[in-house]
């Protein structure tokens, strides 16, 4: 029901963001110094564009966004927006950041999308099914089977994002896996849904970092929770796995 509208939100966000992507050259060429901050400018422009479209189309809906906080937070339907998830990747010019758009109904995430406007691809789902769409086609998402941590591909954006006590627990898991890939940002969750990655472990997430991803993760069969097994909707320390066996083996290290 909200698929076409979410696609439109993603489109207007991408149009707002792309003029700021990889703009260092222009800034240098103009001889300008700070305080021009392309990622903040892009974040603000994209959230403004999405908010305007939501308020025009569904004036009764609420919005929670990274840049402008809460609007109408007691509404039945709430849009949860993170215009640029993965700001360091964005700053470096890497195509690994994404626009996150989620919709909750009475607090339950019912639709979500990760959109990458430079790559021109989206990952989206409604908790029951999930898909990815790129210039190369559309495909249903399904996590892959993985029996043990030893066989698992792990991803986290950076080990520097963990507090010291968290890092110790995280490293206990990292030592067990087949290999770890850093620098995934929101792509790590999307690619776990796509059956390319088995395990994502992060900490310090805001609700808008994870809520929009839950319907596509769960629609692809993933298990997502906090490190102590609670619902992921409030953010914080998050574990996502494609196979329950890997989830439980990792959780034993994290929840100690």
């Amino acid at each position: 029901m909200f698929e076409e509208f979410t696609k439109e939100l993603a489109r207007v966000a991408g149009e707002a963001i792309l003029p700021y992507f990889r703009t260092t050259l222009e800034v240098e060429n103009k001889g300008e110094k700070s305080p021009f901050d392309p990622v903040t400018q892009a974040d603000i422009a994209a959230e403004k564009a999405m908010r305007a479209l939501i308020q025009r189309t569904f004036p009764a809906h609420g919005i929670i966004g990274e840049e402008f906080g809460e609007t109408n937070p007691d509404a039945d339907y709430i849009w949860v927006l993170d215009p640029i998830d993965g700001t360091k990747g964005f700053i470096c010019g890497l195509p690994t950041w994404g626009t996150l758009i989620g919709l909750t109904h009475h607090g339950k995430p019912i639709y979500g999308m990760m959109h990458q406007p430079f790559v021109q691809e989206s990952f989206y789902g409604d908790g029951l099914t999930a898909y990815m769409r790129s210039p190369f086609g559309t495909q249903q998402l399904k996590t892959r089977a993985c029996a043990t941590l030893q066989a698992a591909v792990l991803s986290t954006t950076s080990p520097h994002n963990f507090a010291p006590q968290e890092l110790e627990k995280y490293l206990a898991v990292e030592k067990k896996v087949k290999f770890v890939r850093y620098g995934g940002d929101c792509y790590a969750y999307a690619l776990l849904a796509a059956g390319q990655i088995d395990l994502v472990i992060e900490s310090g997430l805001a609700p808008y970092d994870i809520v929009p991803l839950l319907p596509l993760l769960e629609g692809a069969g993933a298990i997502v929770s906090t490190w102590d097994g609670q619902p992921a909707t409030k953010g914080g320390r998050i574990i996502a796995a494609g196979d329950k066996r890997v989830y439980e083996e990792a959780l034993a290290f994290l929840n100690t």
Copy 2:
């Protein structure tokens, strides 16, 4: 002179690789187990396609490739090929790997390209100038000014790629920088050329991992060498910087 031909090599490599990208789902769906290895299959298919095109067009030229070794290595012109640089990124389904294509004349790198067929963009140069081309346009590449390590954005693919003694030196630099971004693969060098990243430090590179990148790095004004200040053409421990001041400050830590 070799620009159009290199573009054609990149095109045939991309066509050979993309059918293998993000194929876990199909493999799982067919109920197949190992030994199907999409990245090796894609590597082989792309190098075969590039070799065939080179041998048909320039039969006197030599070739050095990751998968099939050396052909006619005493030729004046040698093509240096790495069909998939960034295999872990490829395995995870991330769009951060690239096809590297270089050309040397009497051992000197004279043309080079990094091509990402899923994102549909290329970074290329001839040692004097460099460009990036994507569906969003073509732009000349130029490294950005950066006065100190403290102001520098550093990238390396993974700290796990360093040997213990190397890691100690690398971390001495990492502690000084503004921030570090992991998981860059060949994109880190391309984006250093684009003025988005200030410093890349890696080790254990093969010649085909770096030779194709030298003409675009140098064409954008970057400084590239081994950690002990020798030419980068043989690979090994590599440092690349966009500003000589950052290069020298980092080199003092690495070359001890």
